[in-house]
């Protein structure tokens, strides 16, 4: 039953290294994710259907994106557009900003890590990425899903979300409540105690 639910999660992996793309693809598939890999940030944006001039909230239409992804995992050091640049583009786009982004890097540079996390990245993984690192993806993907991006009844029942009809994104107060509950559910989901840094962004109880 859980296998069926997880088969829906689609991860877009971005890395200029062919070996690393192969690796991350295998890791993700082993963790039961559907995977698409691309070699650059610009390719990633193309696939996501990114539009530069997207300042207004678009009318909700799932066909707007070329593909639907539940999470983007990207290398930091890439020629042209870095992982950080890609992160900023995604977070600055009204249609893409809710997609969780994870950054990977072979270099352990604290200022780089903070910059990425402050820029909206959910996690920062040191390369080579391990299977156990991928366990940390689930809470972020689930959070992204329950923001009303996908409407899969089984999934929502499983997650005990009471935000079942995402078409009616109605009163602010009820949304606030369910956001809080989602954050807490995500934490109960079993976030591993060892994190790269203390969390201060979206998982805290301050509602955005």
């Amino acid at each position: 039953m859980t296998v069926e639910a997880e088969a829906q999660f689609h991860v877009l992996a971005v890395d200029d290294s062919l070996i690393d793309r192969k690796l991350i693809e295998r890791l993700l598939k082993t963790s039961s994710y559907q995977v698409t890999t691309v070699e650059s940030g610009s390719k990633a944006l193309e696939l996501l259907g990114f539009r530069e001039d997207q300042s207004s909230t678009p009318s909700v239409s799932p066909n707007q994106h070329e593909i639907e992804v539940n999470l983007v995992i990207t290398d930091y050091c890439m020629p042209g557009m870095t992982g950080y640049d890609l992160l900023k583009k995604i977070k600055g786009s009204s249609s893409l900003k809710d997609i969780p982004v994870v950054i990977m890097s072979s270099e352990n540079v604290p200022s780089r890590i903070s910059r990425c996390l402050e820029g909206g990245a959910e996690e920062f993984f040191l390369k080579p990425v391990q299977l156990s690192d991928l366990k940390r993806l689930r809470p972020h993907i689930l959070k992204g899903k329950s923001n009303g991006k996908e409407q899969k009844p089984e999934q929502q029942q499983q997650e005990n979300n009471n935000n079942n009809d995402s078409s009616s994104i109605s009163s602010g107060s009820s949304n606030n409540q369910s956001n809080k509950r989602k954050a807490m559910d995500a934490m109960d989901e079993g976030l591993s105690p060892e994190r790269t840094r203390p969390r201060f962004s979206s998982d805290s109880l301050t509602v955005v």
Binding site: S17, I19, D20, K22, R26, K29, K127, P128, L131
Partner: protein, 151 residues
């Protein structure tokens, strides 16, 4: 008998490789990722590594052969090689790359040339060991045996 002998050799070779840190636990992780749904995974990743490493070593040789060395370019290649070797678990290659990068930062041409020699050596060492290891695996499987798992 044949199989047992091959398996013995496999175990010994693996032990040596890991003792000498030619490969590290990252390689073990890769082995664990190979399964029935992806039976050629190791072979594919290793082949990619060989291809990329040899290309990079070539580029490095050319770059350091120039009258005026572009250290940024050299560093970029070494960074790339460092990343690939880390991803596959080629520990000694990776370690030399780390030292190599320091020479690049110092614009130290002689140091770079020395390190290129070293990284070439380490690369060919890991290459021949991997080839031997994969060949043994193939032989074991062909003889109907199973690959000993090292934990």
């Amino acid at each position: 008998m044949e199989v047992a002998c091959l398996q013995r050799r496999f175990i010994d070779l693996t032990a040596t490789i890991f003792q000498q840190e030619i490969l590290d636990s990252q390689f073990t992780q890769l082995q664990q990722l190979q399964d029935e749904s992806s039976p050629n995974f190791i072979h594919e990743v290793v082949s990619l590594f060989f291809q990329e490493a040899e290309k990079l070593l070539n580029e490095l040789s050319k770059a350091l052969d120039q009258q005026i060395v572009d250290f940024k370019k050299v560093d970029a290649h070494v960074h790339r090689l460092k990343g690939s070797s880390a991803s596959i678990g080629a520990r000694r290659v990776k370690d030399v790359c780390i030292a190599f990068r320091s020479c690049c930062e110092e614009n130290n041409k002689d140091g770079c040339i020395q390190h290129l020699q070293q990284v070439n050596q380490e690369y060919y060492l890991v290459k021949s060991n991997l080839e031997d290891l994969l060949k043994l695996e193939k032989q074991i499987l062909a003889s109907g045996g199973s690959i000993p798992t090292m934990k």
